[in-house]
């Protein structure tokens, strides 16, 4: 029979210790130097948590539990090892869905166990209903987000006018069923909570455009944390509550940071208003309005060779092309010629916060060449050449000039102030937000069409010849 997790003073203190280790884990991320130590702390915390669950007096089915853990490890580790870094956002979304499902299953399992002996209580029913609802919303929401990110279903938002009423109705339905369940412990009510939550997760995320998926993923991260916390109340585990709150707060803060960097309100993202505008513009702008100048790799190499200051702006395209190592080689060539090279990182370049930093770090590009938005923007005016590698929205001047643009107000990298701007991309298609970029047709700008990695390599070869 299930015994509540809190059984003695020592276990409580050890559980808190496990939670503190997780805090130290996040604390380690305050600096790259301590980050790996932090990760080890978090691992130790989780190991301690699992160990405590193992020595719990009610634990009997060691074999079964070990089987479950082993199965998870066998699936999880290769997944983590093999997934290309560009698919990380999807993978993270999938992982969130698993936690959501697990929280719902825990609620279901507890219900079966308690009902078997006729031991359900109202307070427990409330907590279980809450845990299951948050968990299942996370489940379908994350799956949909992952599919949108993967491109399996179009990132196109679902613009039906009635969607807000539908969501509201589903929300009210879940609350009502939870109340019903709390009072009667009826399996029908519990089942309805499951079904309605599954639907709500989907309909919440469906209206949101693909461009906003990273915010959604972060929000679902937060939800998965609150699902864990709700489960913690049901099983009376302060550890679950502590770690759940950490995760919940972390996801919320990251969503906030992203929305802030895109200069948009969280509410408008969640209600999917932006997604709409984007869809409309996106369709119109698959062909550029004015012809953009084109340039060849030799042109770029020639001008780089003449330059004194070069700024490289990496974007999502660099990640897709896995061009970071080629970029590193090019950087070394330029530095060897005494040319000053900087990397300009926009906070939402790529598809996750810090995405570009991870890639540049992978290629071992020195940290001190990398600059953030505020520091680098004044420097564009002095730059001779700006090389934009698969970035688009984050260098879009419309954000400053075109009030009707959906990204109006978002701070961008002001690459256009430089003497020469080269944009490496494969086509005339717009970036993730689906909007035209007037930068490409400016007189000092030219497109270099092709895969970022190949182009950078060709520039390198041409530069060697120069």
């Amino acid at each position: 029979m299930l015994i509540a997790l809190l059984n003695d003073n020592l276990t409580l203190l050890l559980a808190i210790a496990a939670g503190v280790l997780c805090v130290l884990g996040l604390q380690g991320l305050s600096h790259p130097k301590t980050a790996r130590r932090g990760n080890l702390c978090a691992m130790a915390g989780m190991a301690l948590a699992i160990a405590l669950a193992f020595v719990h007096p009610s634990m009997e089915a060691y074999g079964w539990v070990l089987l479950g853990l082993a199965a998870g490890a066998v699936v999880g580790v290769p997944l983590a090892r093999k997934t290309p870094l560009t698919s990380l956002p999807q993978l993270v979304a999938v992982f969130h869905s698993l936690v959501g499902l697990a929280a719902a299953l825990v609620a279901l399992g507890m219900y079966l166990q308690k009902q078997a002996f006729g031991l359900m209580e109202a307070k427990l029913a409330l907590e279980m209903g809450l845990g299951a609802a948050i968990g299942l919303i996370t489940l379908t929401g994350s799956i949909l987000a992952a599919l949108k990110l993967q491109g399996t279903i179009g990132g196109r938002p679902w613009g039906w006018w009635g969607r807000h009423y539908l969501n509201l109705g589903l929300g009210v339905g879940i609350v009502a069923c939870t109340a019903w369940f709390t009072l009667t412990f009826s399996p029908v009510a519990f089942g309805l909570i499951f079904i309605l939550s599954l639907i709500l997760g989907w309909t919440l995320v469906a209206p949101i455009g693909g461009a906003d998926m990273p915010v959604v993923v972060s929000m679902l991260n937060s939800y998965s944390g609150w699902a864990a916390a709700a489960t913690g109340f049901a099983v009376e585990s302060p550890l679950l509550i502590m770690v759940g709150a950490l995760v919940g707060v972390s996801g919320a803060i990251l969503s906030y940071v992203m929305c802030h960097a895109m200069q948009r309100s969280f509410i408008s993202v969640i209600l999917g208003g932006f997604g709409n505008a984007e869809a409309a513009v996106g369709e119109a702008s698959t062909t550029p309005s004015k012809a953009a100048a084109l340039a060849g790799t030799e042109d770029v190499a020639y001008l780089l060779n003449e330059a004194e200051q070069v700024i490289i702006v990496p974007g999502y395209g660099m990640a897709v092309a896995q061009a970071q190592h080629a970029v590193k080689a090019l950087t070394q060539q330029l530095l060897a010629k005494g040319i000053e090279v900087r990397f300009a990182i926009h906070p939402v370049a790529g598809r996750m916060p810090g995405h570009m930093n991870v890639l540049l770090a992978e290629a071992d590009i020195p940290y001190d060449l990398v600059e953030e938005l505020e520091d680098v923007n004044p420097r564009f005016a002095e730059a001779d050449v700006v090389l934009i590698l698969g970035a688009n929205d984050v260098v879009n001047p419309a954000a400053q000039t075109d009030k009707s643009s959906p990204i109006y107000g978002m701070p961008v990298l002001e690459a256009w102030h430089a003497k020469r701007v080269f944009v490496v991309k494969r086509s005339h298609r717009p970036g993730y937000a689906g909007i035209d970029n007037p930068l490409f047709t400016l007189p000092n700008a030219a497109l270099v069409l092709g895969d970022a990695k190949e182009i950078v390599e060709k520039i390198g070869t041409a530069l060697k010849a120069a």
């Binding site: 002996f117 995760v247 916060p353």
Partner: protein
């Protein structure tokens, strides 16, 4: 001294939320991707609850002599169902934990000691 455990758990929630606020704002933006990965891993903490569901021994129908079992004939099957569900939940969480930490480690391995000079 009639403080419920529930209230203490609320206290833990409040204080942990505050800790989370400070610790997350302290994370350097360059490490926001590893942060997502590591919070993903630790959200697998639900494994503790899953183990509590999967772990207990299966009691025989005799227990219904003492407890108000509503459907005595299903007492054993329901417990087994709970165990299976618990094990599945354990496995799901384990994917998260192992996968999440592996991804984090993979990302952090890129921030090599050489870059650590910028203190």
């Amino acid at each position: 001294m009639e403080i419920d455990i529930f209230t203490w758990l609320v206290v833990v929630l409040i204080l942990s939320g505050i800790i989370g606020y400070f610790v997350v704002w302290g994370v350097t933006p360059a490490l926001h991707t590893p942060l997502m990965a590591v919070t993903n891993a630790i959200s697998g903490i639900v494994v503790v609850a899953a183990m509590a569901v999967a772990g207990p021994s299966i009691l025989s129908i005799d227990v219904c002599a003492m407890l108000p079992c509503p459907y005595p004939q299903y007492v054993v099957p329901m417990q087994w169902a709970a165990r299976v569900i618990g094990v599945v939940a354990v496995a799901l969480c384990a994917v998260n934990i192992f996968g999440g930490f592996a991804i984090t480690a993979r990302m952090l391995a890129m921030y090599k000691p050489k870059e650590e000079k910028k203190a």
